[in-house]
């Protein structure tokens, strides 16, 4: 007399799926979707001076006044302005600025330093936009300073 009992070796996947579904729901509810990044600037520490042995210490400046007017300047070491361009507030101001800064960087490839100078009443968002434009144009040393 042979007793044949049917055995089923299938792994029951329903509990696994239930567990994963709960896990996915939990993660979807608790996930932080906003991406926080940063724009970094470097500055002199304490009383130290800037590197005096730069090959060319010309620099590019983006000045922003309280009315939101951007002035892009190429300055020599002795503060002499070589080139200056003004951009008044408009819808496509950031696109135009990006193009101009990129073209200036390709025209003066020896310039590695760039600064954003903002007046006291300049919105913080404008300063960040200016920094972003300089980062996009791949300037190595970027600084921020108050205007005037």
């Amino acid at each position: 007399m042979t007793m044949q009992k049917e055995t089923n070796f299938e792994v029951n996947l329903f509990p696994v799926i239930s567990l994963l579904a709960v896990l996915i729901s939990f993660l979807l509810l608790t996930a932080v979707w906003e991406h926080i990044g940063s724009l970094s600037v470097k500055q002199a520490v304490g009383q130290s001076q800037m590197d005096q042995n730069q090959e060319d210490s010309s620099s590019l400046w983006i000045e922003i006044d309280a009315q939101g007017t951007f002035t892009v300047q190429i300055k020599e070491r002795n503060e002499r302005v070589v080139q200056s361009m003004k951009f008044r507030q408009s819808q496509d101001i950031y696109q135009r600025l990006t193009k101009v800064v990129a073209s200036l960087h390709s025209r003066y490839p020896q310039i590695h330093m760039a600064f954003v100078a903002a007046s006291a009443k300049t919105p913080y968002q404008s300063v960040i936009r200016a920094l972003e434009i300089l980062k996009l144009s791949k300037f190595k040393d970027i600084g921020v300073s108050p205007l005037g």
């Binding site: 009992k5 055995t7 089923n8 070796f9 299938e10 029951n12 996947l13 329903f14 696994v16 799926i17 994963l20 579904a21 896990l23 996915i24 993660l27 979807l28 608790t30 996930a31 932080v32 906003e34 991406h35 926080i36 990044g37 940063s38 724009l39 970094s40 600037v41 470097k42 500055q43 002199a44 520490v45 304490g46 903002a118 007046s119 006291a120 009443k121 300049t122 919105p123 913080y124 968002q125 300063v127 960040i128 936009r129 920094l131 972003e132 980062k135 996009l136 921020v144 300073s145 108050p146």
Partner: protein, 162 residues
């Protein structure tokens, strides 16, 4: 073998239980093969879980995001690494859950750098969280404060617009 745990268990496939799928008697008694392929579903769920686990925690642990501060947007930004976080508000600067003025913040930053024995260069940076509508004169004193405290790198926290 007779006492095997598997023999005693009467595991039934949930699909077999349905009469429509497996008719018992009569004319149309041919079994219809309609098993649900759950393995691929488990695979998809697993991938989803791994993706969510990896992408859900991008913010460094010591940066607590203040919902009252609306960060400025920037499409092009770097990954935010660890550093000393300072929030700029209309009442002053918030550092380690304390509202401080400029002088107190300078002292607190110097003290913090000494206490934490900062060895990594990444940690010796200041992460600034300021509202996008704030004026620059609220943020600019931080540049001098950080310089005095011996912090060379300042990171302005931004929100990706994507």
């Amino acid at each position: 073998m007779k006492n095997s745990m598997l023999l005693n268990q009467n595991i039934q496939s949930p699909v077999n239980g349905f009469k429509r799928v497996r008719p018992q008697k009569g004319k149309g008694s041919r079994a219809i093969s309609a098993t649900l392929i759950l393995t691929s579903l488990v695979d998809a769920f697993s991938i989803l879980v791994i993706y969510l686990l990896v992408n859900s925690s991008q913010t460094p642990h010591n940066i607590d995001r203040d919902q009252s501060i609306e960060l400025p947007t920037a499409d092009f930004s770097e990954v935010l690494k660890n550093g000393l976080g300072v929030k700029v508000t209309s009442h002053g600067y918030i550092f380690k859950d304390q509202t401080l003025n400029a002088h107190q913040l300078r002292q607190a930053l110097i003290q913090s750098l000494k206490e934490e024995l900062v060895s990594e260069s990444d940690a010796k940076s200041l992460i600034v969280q300021a509202d996008k509508n704030a004026s620059f004169d609220q943020v600019s004193p931080l540049l001098a404060i950080a310089s005095d405290a011996g912090i060379a790198e300042i990171k302005f926290a931004t929100l990706g617009s994507q």
